[in-house]
């Protein structure tokens, strides 16, 4: 039991905006009150927020581990020593599992979603997540290039699509369906490079990417998943791709949809030419369509590792960087590409990407609709979050940084207009916790009302927001004090968050023959058994 007293509480989900009030904890949950003998934390001069929620990061599973193996030179610069009872690890852009969990906790984050994993590798993802301490976690299963689903979509079998999708999410113990460059990855694997846009035909299937997005999103809605389809649109990174993004969003209007790392999908200009910013157009669309949500995918200067199911994109990046490249095709489901990358502030494109991310944050008026992410480690490590928060909260700092980067790029943005906007602590609490928790449909996360999970971060108020958000004084996870006075005091496992949507078991008669013909493992050995779950929580569907 625990009582946090005298802290200024930011709990936007419960309309609490900087009030001094007590937060009480019992049995891992927030409660209305605790007996006087409960341990008390004096949070005078401190800010109390729900634990951070990262709805889009790449932290576990086959592609992450390939990336880890790929970059010993990066780990070597940033060891993570064993402290006390905890495990050691390697840091850098793609930390080892233990280091990932500890470092998220060190920033006050307590829930993180792995944003793209093949269902075929689900056991791998879950084993890694089990070795990722402190945080609660889940993962999105890649479905946008699933051959069986594309066949069923082509055949117009809506019920079969829904049931197949539900079977697959159950089998993988995933959190939602992820769509990555629908159709494009399948085209890459068949040697045809990529789809050209959202309306081009996916070879061998005779359907378009938009049909895939439409059908899968409909199925997810019908299943009532707590989080809608999580969509990485076609043409990521290409100049002129904002029209693809807008058209993808339009096909979904009226239904829930989440467009991820939208910064990478906001570019004007001609294909193959220099990109320009279309952040304003995208924000305008979001303003008029509250049912559509997004996370930013901010680029931060310095080392990154691009890792994506969007394998043709990865090949393009390899051609640009000339460096290491990994491609890993996954049978019938998806692909994978990895390219280590450095974002340079002097580079026009990189600076523009950085600028567009900031534009999105600063032009957007509804923080509930747009979550903070760097698409870790694609736009940069999650360790950049405190610096990103400072860019949002501190106009002088931001203007000073804007001066340091490629000015031709800045001229293509509104950033040189000395935007007045400074995020408040309430808004930061929304984009880093309350908002993503709501978008994920996690009713017990991202707020401090009675019944919520006791995931709490306490920061010392400081003028330098980067310093403030880099070193929380206390981090409480499921009611346990993990960090106290900036130091680790306890370890914690964290639990797997997953869904179990209902489906008609007859669908196995459709799925099993496909496995017999085209998979290299047995249908009966595909689904992840309950023995992999350890601590877990089935997040209920909405219907």
């Amino acid at each position: 039991m625990l009582r946090i007293v005298n802290g200024r509480v930011y709990d936007p989900a419960n309309n609490i905006d900087g009030e001094i009030r007590d937060i009480c904890v019992s049995d891992g949950k927030i409660v209305a009150d605790v007996p006087p003998e409960a341990r008390s934390i004096d949070a005078r001069g401190m800010v109390v927020m729900p634990g951070g929620v990262d709805m889009h990061a790449h932290i576990a599973g086959p592609k992450v581990n390939l990336a880890r193996k790929l970059i010993p030179e990066d780990h070597r610069r940033d060891p993570h020593p064993r402290v006390g009872l905890m495990r050691s690890g390697a840091g850098g852009s793609v930390p080892s599992t233990f280091a990932t969990g500890y470092r998220y906790a060190m920033l006050g984050y307590t829930t993180v979603m792995e944003a793209a994993a093949p269902a075929l590798g689900a056991r791998h993802v879950i084993e890694e997540l089990h070795d990722t301490p402190i945080i609660d976690k889940g993962f999105y299963a890649l479905m946008g290039n699933n051959v069986l689903l594309m066949r069923l979509i082509k055949e117009g079998r809506k019920d079969a699509v829904r049931n197949t999708l539900a079977w697959w999410l159950n089998a993988a113990k995933a959190y939602t369906a992820k769509i990555v460059n629908p159709g494009g990855v399948e085209m890459w694997k068949s040697g045809s490079n990529n789809v050209t846009d959202q309306n081009s035909t996916i070879e061998s299937f005779g359907i378009t990417p938009l049909q895939v997005v439409d059908a899968l999103s409909l199925a997810v809605d019908e299943l009532g998943l707590p989080h809608p389809t999580h969509i990485h649109c076609n043409n990521l990174g290409h100049s002129g791709n904002y029209t693809t993004t807008l058209e993808t969003m339009r096909v979904l209007q009226g239904r829930r949809a989440h467009i991820t790392h939208i910064q990478f999908h906001c570019y004007g200009g001609k294909l193959g030419g220099k990109p320009t910013s279309k952040a304003a157009e995208i924000i305008e669309y979001l303003k008029n369509h509250p049912e559509t949500t997004a996370d930013v995918g901010q680029v931060m200067f310095g080392d990154a590792v691009t890792m994506t199911a969007d394998a043709p994109l990865s090949y393009m990046l390899h051609k640009l960087s000339g460096g290491k490249w990994v491609n890993a095709d996954v049978e019938n489901e998806t692909g994978c590409g990895i390219v280590p990358f450095v974002y340079q502030d002097s580079n026009y494109v990189h600076a523009l990407q950085w600028g567009i991310g900031l534009e999105l944050f600063l032009l957007n008026q509804n923080p509930w609709q747009l979550a903070l992410s760097t698409d870790h480690p694609n736009g940069g490590s999650f360790m950049n979050y405190p610096r990103l928060i400072k860019l949002l909260m501190d106009r002088d700092f931001r203007n000073q940084e804007i001066k340091k980067v490629n000015q031709a790029a800045m001229k293509k943005t509104v950033l040189l207009d000395d935007l007045q906007r400074e995020y408040t602590l309430r808004e930061i609490a929304i984009v880093t916790r309350a908002g993503p928790a709501r978008l994920l449909g996690l009713k017990n996360k991202g707020h401090l009302g009675a019944g919520a999970d006791a995931d709490i971060t306490i920061y010392e108020e400081q003028a330098d927001k980067e310093a403030m958000f880099s070193t929380p004084r206390y981090v409480v996870k499921s009611g346990k004090i993990i960090i106290e006075d900036g130091e680790f005091r306890a370890d914690h496992g964290g639990r797997l968050l997953h869904v179990m949507p209902a489906y008609d078991p007859q669908i196995e008669e459709v799925i099993k023959p496909f496995f017999d013909d085209f998979y290299s493992i047995q249908f009966e050995n595909y689904a992840v058994g309950d023995e992999y779950l350890h601590e877990h929580e089935i997040v209920p569907t909405l219907r």
């Binding site: 193996k69 790929l70 020593p81 080892s96 791998h124 890993a328 023995e531």
Partner: protein
């Protein structure tokens, strides 16, 4: 009590080699697998020979002991060691591997797996430039050009041809074998050559030059005619191969230890990986090392996710460091640096270089193995453990990183590797004062 009923276990997995075939139909009678349907010759031997043998649970200095006593003795050795090494791990479950890495972390050991003496060089090549690869189902569904280089799957991975890469019918190769061209490159005419449409016999120790020449030809760069003398392969044959590689729809290069164990090592693997990468300029091309032991790929994965590095990891300074040649087991032993060893499910005393074996005999060694081996016979402390996949469940990773759950056939009286390692881990943490 021994269960003498006859039982059938379907969809069981064979963990003998890296193919990790999961379509076994096992007939189990008591402590015997009397039939292993779908298994290859190696798999049949694997299943039929792994019965429960009457062996002591443990031996300490040759004296019979219980598991608990041996755990205590092992923990004492490891907690007192200054530069111990944890090695092996390719024939056990990921669950056991996770415990082994934890032990290495807590005691400040080096951890290394049999990868370092099989495809470790390929891992180093991967770190240099990456690779283009695919799961075996993609090969089955798409590959119309299959090249094996420096390996003899007919004997080492008998079902590789029939299950994944040569004969099966696939989505885009509906006629199976007829839709594929198969090439073998090797220094001798192995039994695998029978399967190939084209066999290219390269001179020993000239693989690098041949791969380099193929890369140059793919890129349209000049190749000196001396290549024919160096490799024993005509330029005409190389150009023909290059033409096939560039014009196929989906090509795959499988490679074996004929590259990694010969002069050139990681640069041989690297040249092959680079060749596959280069070919993506023209078509879709992937490469894949044909991994040996049942869960060596799991070992790579577990060590990577827990430490950031795939093998040759040292924890003596309280965090992982990676350096093949420095923290690889052969080197730690051959240079007489390691002062204790924990060996799980492998037999270095049989297959390491002589100098390494001699040092292994000098230091206190702890061994976990279901069978007696040369290594168990030189151990200070040896544990008899259950056989993974036959007696214990758990996770293994196929050579293409696909994780598969095991369906054990019958229980063993002996503990699993995971159980023993967990007990050692808990005890060394106590001894080192690392418990709360």
């Amino acid at each position: 009590m021994e269960n003498t009923d006859k039982r059938i276990i379907e969809n069981a997995t064979c963990t003998f080699c890296g193919c990790v075939c999961d379509d076994m139909i096992l007939t189990v009678e008591g402590n015997h697998i009397t039939q292993a349907k779908n298994a290859c010759v190696l798999g049949k031997a694997w299943f039929s020979e792994h019965t429960v043998e009457q062996r002591p649970f443990a031996l300490i200095d040759g004296r019979e002991a219980g598991t608990d006593e041996a755990v205590e003795a092992a923990a004492q050795v490891l907690a007192n060691a200054r530069f111990p090494v944890v090695y092996g791990l390719s024939d056990t479950t990921c669950e056991a591997q996770r415990q082994a890495v934890a032990i290495a972390d807590y005691i400040g050991a080096s951890i290394d797996t049999t990868t370092s003496v099989c495809h470790g060089p390929s891992g180093m090549a991967f770190q240099g430039a990456g690779e283009s690869t695919a799961t075996l189902g993609e090969v089955r569904n798409r590959a119309d050009l299959v090249i094996y280089w420096g390996g003899n799957p007919a004997e080492s991975h008998p079902r590789h041809f029939t299950r994944y890469s040569v004969t099966p019918k696939g989505m885009y190769v509906p006629n199976g074998r007829k839709d594929r061209t198969v090439v073998l490159v090797d220094v001798r005419q192995t039994p695998s050559a029978k399967v190939a449409d084209i066999f290219l016999q390269v001179k020993p120790r000239a693989d690098f030059e041949m791969l380099w020449a193929l890369r140059a030809l793919v890129k349209g760069k000049p190749v000196d005619p001396s290549i024919e003398e160096i490799t024993g392969v005509s330029l005409h044959a190389m150009k023909d191969l290059v033409q096939r590689m560039k014009s196929c729809r989906f090509g795959v290069l499988f490679f074996g230890m004929g590259l990694t164990m010969t002069r050139g090592r990681h640069y041989n693997s690297g040249a092959l990986l680079a060749l596959a990468t280069d070919l993506n300029e023209f078509t879709h091309f992937v490469a894949k090392p044909v991994r040996g032991h049942g869960n060596v790929t799991g070992a790579d994965n577990v060590v990577s996710w827990q430490t950031g590095y795939p093998f040759a990891v040292n924890f003596s300074r309280g965090f992982p460091r990676f350096n093949p040649g420095e923290f690889t087991t052969v080197d730690l032993l051959a240079r007489a640096e390691a002062d204790a060893a924990l060996i799980i499910a492998s037999d270095p005393a049989s297959n390491f270089p002589k100098a390494a074996i001699e040092h292994l005999k000098r230091i206190p060694t702890i061994v976990l193995d279901p069978k007696t081996t040369v290594t168990t016979s030189v151990a200070k402390i040896s544990f008899t453990t259950a056989t993974y996949g036959i007696n214990t469940g758990g996770t293994v990773y196929r050579m293409d990183d696909v994780p598969i759950s095991l369906r054990p056939a019958f229980p063993s009286p002996y503990p699993s590797d995971e159980t023993v390692l967990r007990a050692i881990k808990d005890r060394v943490r106590q001894l080192l004062g690392q418990t709360a």
